[in-house]
């Protein structure tokens, strides 16, 4: 069995209102040294077969991420 982690982040040029809201809350908590927050998604996939790179690319690019606005990275974790 394999474990695959896919991280999805909004592209740098796309506004992230959620990240901005978190940044505002951090400032109110006194963390004024934090100057930027970007919020993303992390998917943890469990496979019962050896992961195939092309299949993982397809899964990430067709469903997990919208490549119009998001970038993704795929990481296979050895079990």
């Amino acid at each position: 069995m394999a474990r695959v982690v896919v991280d999805v982040m909004l592209k740098p040029e796309i506004l992230d209102p959620q990240g901005q809201a978190v940044l505002g809350a951090l400032a109110r908590l006194g963390h004024s040294d934090i100057t930027s927050v970007r919020q993303g998604k992390r998917f943890e996939l469990e496979l019962d077969a050896a992961p195939d790179a092309a299949t993982l690319e397809e899964v990430a690019s067709t469903l997990l991420a919208n490549t119009v606005i998001e970038d993704y990275s795929i990481r296979v974790e050895e079990s």
Binding site: I14, L15, Q20, L63, L64, V68
Partner: protein, 225 residues
């Protein structure tokens, strides 16, 4: 025989009944289509209504795009079938790549619900031919993730080809790039917008009757065809 316009219901659709009602008020037969049934029942046009399909999980419209009915809607739209996506329906059309760009969370970080003035920029699409170019219309807007974004090249292309169909007037409610409220594909049969024309078809419940033109436009096209 009157035109038959399908309205798709996904789990979490909210405005399918209003859309069907608008279709009937405009003079066509409304045909209910179910997300899990690939059969388009021979309809002449399709409306993807507003709401929160699949709970907006993952991204708005991202899971609806893969519903059984959508593969046929996508194929038929590429073949010229008129398709209108309203709000969540617009998000589904962008996720399906029938329309370029994407919708992201409002820049104001609030859900916005109000009557919104729009300018009709393109009166040659299947869904806007009963309007005049430059006409200003008032229809309800209600969204939390209505910010239209695309890269500059795509935006320039949309503007250059006259594919911006509606622009927000007076005050951009959600941070949409270049005040874009709605766009169309190259052929003009697929239109998506965030505001809700189906909520502006009766005096009792709407701010105007300005939404009727969407449905009457497509009906007159279907009758002429």
């Amino acid at each position: 025989m009157s035109a038959r316009i399908g309205v798709v219901t996904f789990p979490g659709s909210l405005d399918d009944q209003d859309a069907a009602r608008a279709v009937r008020i405009a003079g066509a037969e409304a045909v209910s289509l179910w997300h899990g049934d690939a059969d388009l029942k021979g309809v002449d046009a399709v409306v993807l209504p507003g709401g929160f399909s699949y709970g907006d999980y993952l991204r708005c419209g991202a899971i609806a795009r893969f519903a059984p009915v959508m593969q046929n809607v996508i194929d038929a739209a590429r073949g010229g079938l008129p398709v209108l996506g309203i709000c969540n329906g617009f998000q589904v059309l962008c996720e399906s790549h029938l329309l370029p760009g994407a919708l992201i969370r409002n820049d104001v970080r609030k859900f916005v619900c109000r009557d919104q003035w729009l300018r009709v920029e393109n009166a040659n699409t299947a869904w806007t031919s009963d309007y005049a170019e430059g006409q200003e219309i008032l229809i309800p807007l209600k969204n939390g993730e209505g910010g239209f974004v695309a890269d500059d090249r795509t935006l320039d292309e949309l503007e250059g080809e006259g594919r911006v169909v509606f622009r927000y007037l007076h005050d951009n409610p959600n941070g949409s790039y270049r005040d874009i409220a709605g766009i169309t594909n190259e052929r003009g049969n697929v239109v998506g917008l965030m505001p809700h024309p189906e909520h502006a078809v009766e005096r009792l419940t709407g701010p105007s009757l300005d939404g009727v033109g969407f449905f009457s436009s497509v009906i007159s096209q279907l009758v002429d065809a």
